[in-house]
Each structure stands twice: as C-alpha cells, then as structure tokens.
Amino acid sequence: MSDIVLEARDLVKHFPLTQGILFKRQIGAVRAVDGINLQLHRGETLGIVGESGCGKSTLARMLVGLETPTSGDLFVQGRNMAKVSGTERRRGRRNIQLVMQDPYTSLNPRMTVGDIIGEPFEVHPEVLEKPKRRARVQELLDLVGLNPDHINRYPHQFSGGQRQRIGIARALALNPEIILCDEPVSALDVSIQAQVMNLLEKLQDELGLSYIFIAHDLSVVRHIADRVAVMYLGRVVETGTEDQIYENPTHPYTQALLSAVPVPDPKLRGLRDQIVLTGDVPSPANPPSGCRFRTRCWKAQEICAQRAPELAARQGSAHPSACHFAEVRDVVHAQR
C-alpha cells in the first residue's frame, strides 16, 4: 500500500441558491469549495488554515463523508469512495473519524459517556463483539486521560477540556488511521488548550495516526502541523511544509494572515511587518474573476483579474503558491 492514506482530487462543493416556493429554480450557487487537491501521508499532520467562510469546514465534511462532493474524487487508502460498493465505503469511513469543535453541543446530554464512546460500535458492530465493548470504552477513557470509573457519568458533569477528551475517545473507538480535527481547541481556555494539544500529539506517537487539523489559529497549527495548506474563498492559495509557510510565505494572503497574528512578546511591538488588509472577504456566491484575492491584494494587476493563478511552484516560490507575483516576505519575525 502506498504512503498516501487520503487524497482529494479537484474536490468541489457548490450549494445551490434557489428562488420560489413551489417551482424552485436555481439562481446561482455558493461555491464553498472550488477545486481542492490534497494528499495526506501516513503519520503526518496536515494543517488547514483559513478565515471564516473560506470553506474549510465544508471540506472537512466532505472528507468524512457527511457531504457528497459536487464533483471531484476522494480516495481513502487508494480506493475511490464514490466508486466502491456500500460495504466497502462503510469500511473506508470507519478509517476516518471526526473530532468536532464544540464539546458542548457535539455530545448528547442524555447519553452517558459510556454510551457516547460506545456508539460507533453500534454503527460498525463487526469491529468488536458486544461483551468486550465496555472494557474497550474504559480503555479508551484511560487512553485520553479520563478516569475509567466515570463511564456512567453524563457530559454535563465534565468540564470543556474533559468533554473534548470524550470526543477524542469517541473518534478513536474504531481504531481509525485518520483523525480529522475541526477546530478542536478553539472553544477551550489557553491552559486547557495546551493539555488537549499535548494529548493529540501523544496519541499520534502511540497509535501512528494521521491528522488533518483544521483551525483558524495559526500559532496552534504551526505547533502541531507538519504540512500546512492555506485556504481562501474555497481554494488553496499556498501549501508547503510548516517551515516553508511560516518562514518563507510567498502568497500575499498568507503574508497578511500571518502578519495579523499578535505575538505574545511586548518587546516585538511595532517591530514586525504588519499588513492590515482592507475590506471584507467577497461572497462565495459571486467570487471575483481570476485570482479570488485580487480585490484585497496590494499587488493586484490586470492579469490577476483575467487569469486565475495555478497552485504551483514558480519563480519566487519554491513551494506551491497560487500567485502570479509570488515572492518570499518574512512577516513572522521582528525586523531589525
């Protein structure tokens, strides 16, 4: 088997906009995800960053099978998920599990922790026979750092950080190879956030998991990711290793995004290269022609409106960057 556990080829999701009640006509489409290619290797963490509305959560939902792509192909361990039989698709989905953002709404308040973590076995009963399940749930609780004796408690008896651990235990129940984390720490306080991130890293080392880590917090992504993809309005604008993206960003949007993150060190105040973008993100129902970032870009020229830049390595950028005028600009470190 190859080293690539998950691959998306030209993945697209358009949500139709309709008008009329009885005779619905389509008057347009929200182009939430508009042609995304990505590969996830065994044992690595791929970070996906972008601001609200860039399509990162829609992408996540397609990757786990909660949303059917409008077009494009998704391969889980080399198998095209759109073409395989029902049984095989179920098996494929078993291998990719989701940790959700909000630990308060993603756990059913009427179910005990044991039922919540054991529910995946109801859906995929072939994984583990019934009598062994309770012991497995306790093992999982222990694995994520919760007390196995708390198996009969309800979610409200746990704090936010502990609830996120329950969500992680549920995702691990079926021994998946891929875990997709959609903003797993953004609802948590900083001191708790570090605990959960350390747990995720520990689990990766112990179980050899591959992560897709979606977040808007660029510092968190830098800490945990090996490779990073930056999204803007449904497309990936730049991708590379963590070092390439943070030390040598070449797309203007990546540079603006990175420069906007405050660094917790007052000595660097005013010494960093800050790019303050003007305006708002355009609507994905009516994205700009050519390069989608051109309406807010300080480098934009005529060609940007006419031709959409490809995501490719080019002069001025050793790693793939979707900008006609890509060039390295260090925005993360203080300028002397």
Partner: protein, 345 residues
C-alpha cells in the same frame, strides 16, 4: 452641548477633576444561586489613568467580565450583588449614586463595547436610529440632528459609504463592521474611559488587526483610558501598558506589560505564558497547567491556585489568602514564593 452635560455631572457628590478617571478598590461581587453563593469577584483593585491601556487578563470564569459589568452598573441583579468595595470615577464612588445619576456617568463618561456585537445591537432598528438614540436621550437632540451625528460617527470608525449604511440594519453588516458600529456607539458621547470586553474574540485575525488598530488610534486622539478585558496574551502584548492577571476572582499579578512577559512572578501567569504556542517559534514544548480552574462556589482554602501549582508548599494550602506583595513600585504578585518563581527561568 458638551458643557451642558458637564454642568449636570458637576453636581455629582465629591467630583474631583484631578482624581483618576477610574479607580476600583477591593471590589466584591457574588452571585446568589440555588447551588450556593458563587464568589465571582473577591477583592479586586486597580486604577486607570487617562490615555492608559490596562488589560485584565484571565480565563473563563475568573471574574473579569463581572468586574466590567459591576463598573458599568449592568450586573444582572439578582442573582448578582456587589457586596463591598468602591468604584470611583474622578473621586465619585459610583456605587453610592442613585440610578439616574449613575445613568449620566454611563455612556457619557464610561462606555463599554461587548464581545458579540450582533446580540448587543437591536435587530429591529436601523444602525442610525440606535446611534442617534444616544444623542436624543442624553443630549436632547432632534431626530434629524441625531441622524447627522450618527453619519459622522460611522465615518469616524471608517465605515465606507456611511450615508447609505446608516439606514441599514445590524444583520446587513459583516462581523468586523458590526464591531465598528459598537465602537462608534461607545464613543458617541466622548467618554473618558472605554471598557472593551473581548472586543475581537469573535473576529477573524485579519479583521481583529483592523479593529485593534482603530481602537488604538481613537484612544490616542482622545486621550481615553482603555480597560481591555481579554484572554488573548497576544493582543495584550501588542496594545497594553499595564496588566492585571485574574484568577478565581482575584488579581494575582499586576505589572507593566514588558515585565510580566519577561519575568512572570506568579506561577499561574508563568503557566499561561508557557502554554501558548507562538507563531514565530517552532517545535517548542508546551507545558500545560495541570487540572482545572476551581468552581466559584467552592474556591480552595489559602491560595486558590494551589491545587494546580508546581511551586506549592504547605503555607499555600492554609488561610489567609496570600496578599498582593509589592515587589517594586510598579509590580506586585499574590504568591508567597514570588521570589523563587521570578528567579526560576
């Protein structure tokens, strides 16, 4: 027009224009709930000079927002009660004023912006109407005049096409634009103190940068005191002059911004700084603070942080609560062992 208001404010008992714009002394707030008394604020003191930015830093449930609500006088009561202390605006103890006097201070002299601008604005009135309301109620202006002032305000916070947008409703604005409307509303009556409660938490980073830049500019122009309530250590490092770190309803460390990041002198502050990943550093180890913050109905004896602390000794588990030790004229820490914590790198 503004002289008119000053005349009214002059009648406040004990007003001293040389005193600080905001001084909080030994503030106590509790919530009387069915599950017992939650002591949200337990003796918080700080002051704010004109033109200064003070950050109140802390995690959820530490009492930072309750402190802000008590200053504004918008605490939900019941169940919330201010049970002790003083909140002084230029020498006047706000807690002793009658409600109608207090209303004059609110918005006129001390204003506040909130985290969630969408729920803070009224969805059924236009933005212009809501901004104009301030001038109609507090300044007795006509509808037409107040509308004109509303347009000026939207211009001030750099909302493009202010003349058209003044007639739009809050849902027609984006998150960043809504927060600008909130700022416009807070600054309408030219306050001396602005309290910003997590002003950028709900926003994307690029928008956060715009809003923080705008706040800093307006503060400089007006020499306004800014009380920034936040959990974001990055934002604090960028804008604050002074910091008060809160834990379980108490200020546990107070210092100028540079000192606190360079040599934190309370184990909690130190733990916080070590648990945030940094954008400009790679592959650092995150040392998390173990355990959870205490329930406010059941705060541990002695130092509230003792069950989570790695410097803990027997004295920390006993009452009295460690007082704020004055480390230098500008710094203080509420840890018995601040010297060890500070020296430990």
């Amino acid at each position: 027009m503004s002289t008119d208001v000053n005349v009214k404010l002059d009648t406040l008992p004990g007003l001293d224009s040389d005193a600080l714009p905001l001084e909080v002394k030994d503030l106590h707030v509790e919530f009387r709930t069915r599950n017992g008394i939650a002591r949200a604020v337990n003796g918080v003191s700080f002051s704010l000079r004109a033109g200064e930015t003070r950050a109140i830093l802390g995690e959820s449930g530490c009492g930072k927002s309750v402190t802000a609500q008590a200053i504004m006088g918008i605490l939900d009561s019941p169940p919330g009660f201010v049970t002790g202390g003083e909140i002084r605006y230029r020498g006047v103890d706000l807690l002793k004023l009658r409600e109608e006097q207090r209303r004059k201070v609110r918005a006129n002299r001390i204003a506040m912006i909130f985290q969630d601008a969408l729920s803070a604005l009224n969805p059924v009135f236009t933005v212009g109407f809501q901004l104009g309301e301030l001038f109609r109620k507090h300044r007795g202006m006509s509808r037409a005049d107040s509308k004109a002032r509303a347009v000026e305000l939207l211009d001030l916070v750099k909302i493009p096409a202010a003349k058209q947008r003044v007639n739009e409703y809050p849902h027609q604005f984006s998150g960043g634009m809504r927060q600008r409307v909130m700022i416009a509303m807070a600054l309408a009556l030219d306050p001396e103190v602005l309290i910003a409660d997590e002003p950028t938490t709900a926003l994307d980073v690029t928008v956060q940068a715009q809003i923080m830049a705008l706040l800093a500019e307006l503060q400089r122009e007006r020499n306004m005191g800014l009380l920034l309530i936040t959990h974001d250590m990055g934002v604090v490092a960028d804008v604050a002059d002074e910091i008060s770190v809160m834990y379980a309803g108490r200020v546990i460390e107070e210092a100028p911004v540079r000192d606190i990041y360079e040599s934190p002198s309370h184990p909690y502050t130190k733990g916080l700084l070590e648990s945030i990943p940094r954008l400009d550093l790679k592959g650092q180890e995150l040392s998390a603070i173990k355990g959870l913050p205490p329930l406010l109905t059941d705060i541990p004896k002695g130092c509230a942080f003792n069950p989570r602390c790695r410097y803990v000794q027997d004295a920390c588990r006993q009452d009295p609560v460690p007082p704020l030790h004055q480390m230098s004229p500008t710094r203080s820490s509420a840890c018995h062992f601040w010297k060890e914590v500070k020296a430990d790198v």
